[in-house]
């Protein structure tokens, strides 16, 4: 187990290093980059930039110093707002985005699993068809389309929920629905298909033969094994939710990290784009690492001495 974690950690670090390097190379090669003084008019900003990126030094030194500043969690200044650093923006925006993301994941996982179990237990029944039809729709409708539709119907027309911003639980309902529907649909489909597969296994028949209640069989024997594939795609889902927050925060005017990120993209505030990309990547890679470790703990087939063979 320890070796497995160590290996995952190593891969995660290499991935992060590659992202940091790509970011650096891309930003240096931007025509009219933040590193060229024409981009900025404000002298204070220019001074900040020069101090942070050591623009007077050659590229390889700049690169090493950049790696060092990232390692010490200093993500640099903004070129549009002189008194702001990327760390300031993250400090303000990230907790809100994190809250939105976490609520979304919890909603998506719980409702997705429930829907999946229900469909599997009523295989080819009316509930199954309805749930799976709903799931395909959920996968197909982009979150930003769903968000605008929800605003139009539930906020503007029916006035049940507030149109935008982030201040009370009522404000959370629409953004969370818009963000959670896609992942929920994916989880529901996955849970259903792996439940159907598990339910035909001999040990389920055995459990039934022993006279266990259907409830106990479903929860204790079937679900636990059926959830393994769901754990594997959690990383991908997290990435999707995270990028989803960009547009959702934009649409609902939620002052989270995603909103700052899209703004910085539109204003071509390169240092903020760079810093946020690195931060988001690090966050995601860390989450992937957690998912991998969770998988290693949950799946008895991954053992300490197991030689890497099958699906990589």
């Amino acid at each position: 187990m320890f070796r497995y974690i160590l290996k995952r950690l190593l891969i995660a670090l290499i991935t992060l290093w590659i992202i940091v390097t790509i970011t650096f190379v891309l930003m240096v090669s931007v025509p009219g980059s933040p590193f060229n003084s024409e981009q900025t008019s404000n002298e204070a900003i220019q001074a900040n930039l020069e101090a942070h990126y050591n623009l007077d030094k050659p590229y390889h030194i700049q690169y090493l110093l950049y790696l060092k500043s990232i390692a010490t969690l200093d993500l640099g200044p903004s070129i549009k707002q002189p008194s702001q650093t990327v760390n300031d923006l993250l400090g303000r925006g990230f907790p809100i985005s994190f809250e939105l993301g976490m609520v979304t994941i919890i909603v998506a996982v719980i409702s997705g699993i429930l829907l999946g179990i229900l469909s599997a237990l009523r295989h080819n029944g009316i509930i199954d068809y309805l749930a799976m039809g709903f799931a395909v729709l959920g996968i197909s409708i982009p979150n930003f389309i769903l968000a605008t539709f929800l605003i139009q119907q539930l906020a503007v027309n029916l006035k049940i929920f507030p149109v935008a911003t982030w201040s009370s639980p009522m404000h959370m309902v629409l953004p969370v629905i818009a963000l959670a529907t896609g992942p929920m649909a994916i989880i529901a489909r996955l849970t259903r298909s792996s439940m159907l597969e598990v339910l035909t296994q001999d040990y389920i028949k055995m459990a039934r033969a022993k006279g266990l209640s259907p409830w106990k069989i479903t929860i204790k024997h079937a679900l636990r094994n059926a959830l393994m594939p769901v754990v594997t795609i959690m990383g991908t889902l997290l990435a999707g939710i995270l990028t989803g927050t960009f547009v959702i925060e934009q649409i609902f005017a939620i002052p989270g990290m995603g909103k700052y990120f899209v703004e910085s993209v539109n204003q071509r505030d390169y240092p903020v784009i760079m810093g946020t990309t690195v931060f988001y990547s690090a966050f995601l890679i860390f989450m992937l690492l957690l998912v991998d470790i969770a998988y290693g703990i949950l799946d008895p087939r991954i053992k300490l001495h197991k030689k890497e063979g099958g699906e990589g």
């Binding site: 395909v136 982009p142 605008t148 071509r268 988001y280 995601l284 992937l288």
Partner: protein, 317 residues
């Protein structure tokens, strides 16, 4: 009386030859199969046709492709010509889908959007397939150390959040159709490579491949004749499912302002342009692009699901 005597005398030994006529039998005919043979693809097509949802998706996509090619020719309007006095016209005989905030014809723009979406989706998917087959094929077929290294590289790339890298590339190189496709392709092939590798690993140990090898078949022949045809099913399924991902990515990027620029009009751009319009009740400007993005993704998804069932020989009834 005499005749009866003759008959009773008959035994198998003295039956005269002229009593028999020879039926000409074509020896080769014995080899032909009485019913038309059902090839893998024919069988898959037969099973796909029975899946109503998948067929609906297929029909929709064929119609959409048709309209993407010919739709813009059906209207007298240009995609980008603005006609301010006629802004926000509801759907009517002149403007079937109404006009948008600049007075542009939504019907015309919708089919231009279809061109962009289908083009991005297909090209990105084809590049994925191309790189994925080569990478996954080599990795799975060679095995051992090569496989190990190639899979480690995939594991590293897998952790890279693709949409973030795409955004970064678009910011640096400027939004254009080419950059979008390039950015999507750089990160998109990983899933395909994994699937191809998994399939190749499994198939290369089957008896028929071993038999072919023992007859002296070279690697090239084995890959072409046995491995690729047998991985085709999962590849096609993965492709149908990666097209909507690319279409979504394009719409998403357009929506945050990094999509295709004029003179192109994509569904994401149209949806973004009409965000303000929904508050004022001009629903059609948002409805048509939103409907077509969603329904195209829906069609690809149900088609992919149908293909998955149809192309899996194990599910054959």
């Amino acid at each position: 009386m005499k005749q009866a005597e003759e008959v009773t005398k008959l035994s198998p030994a003295n039956v005269p030859d002229e009593w028999f006529t020879f039926i000409e039998v074509d020896k080769t005919e014995a080899e032909t199969v009485s019913r038309p043979s059902l090839s893998y693809w024919k069988d898959a097509w037969r099973r796909l046709r029975m899946n109503k949802m998948a067929m609906m998706g297929l029909v929709f996509l064929v119609l959409l492709t048709f309209m993407a090619i010919f739709g813009p020719m059906m209207t007298p309007y240009d995609v980008n010509v603005q006609d301010r006095p006629n802004q926000y016209q509801p759907p009517s005989a002149e403007h079937w889908f109404g006009t948008d905030n600049m007075g542009r014809d939504v019907f015309t723009r919708t089919w231009y959007g279809a061109r962009i979406s289908l083009f991005v989706g297909f090209v990105a998917a084809i590049i994925d397939v191309f790189i994925g087959i080569i990478w996954g094929g080599i990795s799975g077929y060679k095995g051992g150390r090569t496989d190990n290294i190639m899979m480690r590289i995939i594991e590293i790339l897998y952790g890279i959040p693709s949409l973030l890298v795409t955004i970064l590339l678009l910011v640096v190189f400027g939004p254009s159709l080419f950059t979008i496709i390039l950015a999507l392709a750089i990160t998109g092939w990983v899933g395909m490579a994994r699937i191809v590798r998994g399939q190749v690993l499994q198939i290369k140990n089957y008896e028929f491949v071993q038999a072919s090898k023992s007859y002296g078949a070279k690697s090239g022949r084995i890959i072409r004749k046995h491995l690729l045809p047998n991985t085709m099913g999962p590849i096609i399924v993965q492709m149908t499912l990666s097209i909507p991902t690319a279409i979504f990515a394009e719409a998403f990027l357009s929506f945050i302002g990094l999509g295709v620029q004029a003179p192109y009009a994509s569904w994401g751009v149209m949806a973004n342009d009409s965000l303000g319009a929904i508050l004022s009740g001009n629903w059609w400007t948002l409805f048509f692009p939103a409907f077509f993005i969603s329904f195209t993704m829906f069609a690809f998804n149900v088609l992919g699901d149908g293909l998955q069932d149809a192309l899996d020989p194990r599910l054959r009834k």
